[in-house]
Symmetry: C2
Subunit: 216 residues, 2 copies
């Protein structure tokens, strides 16, 4: 499958590298084509990896991941609007405010979410929020953390969610560990949870953790 | 032990009843003494249960629980300020905005927390945030949900946290399932998590669940 990855930071390259390992073709996009880090990344991974700008990476992909920093995500997807129409857009981003240094403040609230902002910016894309509740290396390799820990899924389009579930399965997430929360507004929940994630990271002194779900 | 419980709603009576079962003396407090629900509750539980107003319930307790609705918590503890000085005040409340009907909107943010507002309102009390991440019946009887699910602890005073841990142990929470997140500002994490809890309640169609922690 051809996959576009918006964002060339730690998350974008982690997801891009994993998709290459899984046999897919990946075009990673940054604000401007020729981004040195993206070019180097693509060269190191062979013929199935390439780099370009956001619009071209989106047009290339049959499926697209948003891995840009949350603060820049709406601009990034807006600049790639045409290439995203009709496609699954998996949004894994969080808005992190580092203006007072680390750990970041999490501006997420229950009045709106980044996923909804993205869906409004690219109404013809099928936005599915997922994976934003774990560190990037756990996203693409969940066995790094032992046990039946879970991730979440939010989106308005059932077929897009089914397709996302399949890709998450390739990453190593079994279906029964992906909790479908409902429509795109439910992304507010996992985005707000990051406020707890940051404190857990502090208390546990590691990013290699996740939550599981116990029910009666 | 003598325990004051502020709030005579579902959470206050659940915690009060459990404390009576455990052999403690409980005075449950509402805005005004003589609250019919509180009087009936106390009469049904015998000599060790009584009811009064917030100030008197706080003065009565060697330890005090804040179980008022989050919107009214700062007023409640302020009216009980004198009786709270030097004592452990376990805050289990959440602010829930039902102005658009259920499910509630969760106004929690990463800029402040209810627990911090309470600590600022009663600076001589030792506020410890805990239990706000589970339904009231799970708070006092964690075996209702099978498995090693967890709760959190936030507070500035180590001795108060140790005392809270002991009480939580009486409720049925083993020490290793109570995660100490750090100082009172870390309460922002568990308060924001309620935004995810509400969506999980919707997706799972039950309040009888909780999260566990998996780490590498």
């Amino acid at each position: 499958m051809k996959v576009g990855v918006l964002g060339t930071g730690t998350v974008g390259t982690a997801i891009g590298t994993r998709l290459i390992e899984l046999g897919h073709e990946v075009r990673i996009g940054s604000r401007e084509a020729g981004n040195e880090k993206a070019v180097t990344w693509a060269e190191s991974l062979g013929d199935r990896a390439s780099s370009s700008d956001f619009a071209d990476a989106a047009s290339f992909g049959q499926v697209v991941f948003n891995c840009t920093a949350g603060e820049g995500s709406v601009n990034a997807v807006t600049s790639a609007k045409d290439g995203l129409a009709g496609k699954l857009l998996i949004d894994v981003a969080n808005v992190l405010d580092f203006s007072n240094g680390p750990p970041p403040v999490i501006p997420a609230t229950d009045r709106d979410s980044l996923a909804e902002q993205i869906q409004r910016a690219v109404p013809e894309a099928h936005v599915v929020k997922s994976l934003n509740t774990v560190n990037n290396d756990v996203m693409v390799d969940p066995v790094r953390v032992q046990g039946d820990h879970v991730i979440f899924l939010s989106g308005d389009d059932q077929e897009a969610k089914r397709q996302a579930l399949e890709l998450l399965g390739e990453f190593g997430w079994p279906d029964d560990r992906v909790i479908d929360l409902g429509d795109i507004t439910t992304a507010r929940g996992p985005e707000m949870y990051v406020g707890l994630w940051v404190r857990l990271m502090g208390a546990l002194d590691t990013t290699q953790f996740n939550i599981g779900l116990f029910r009666d």
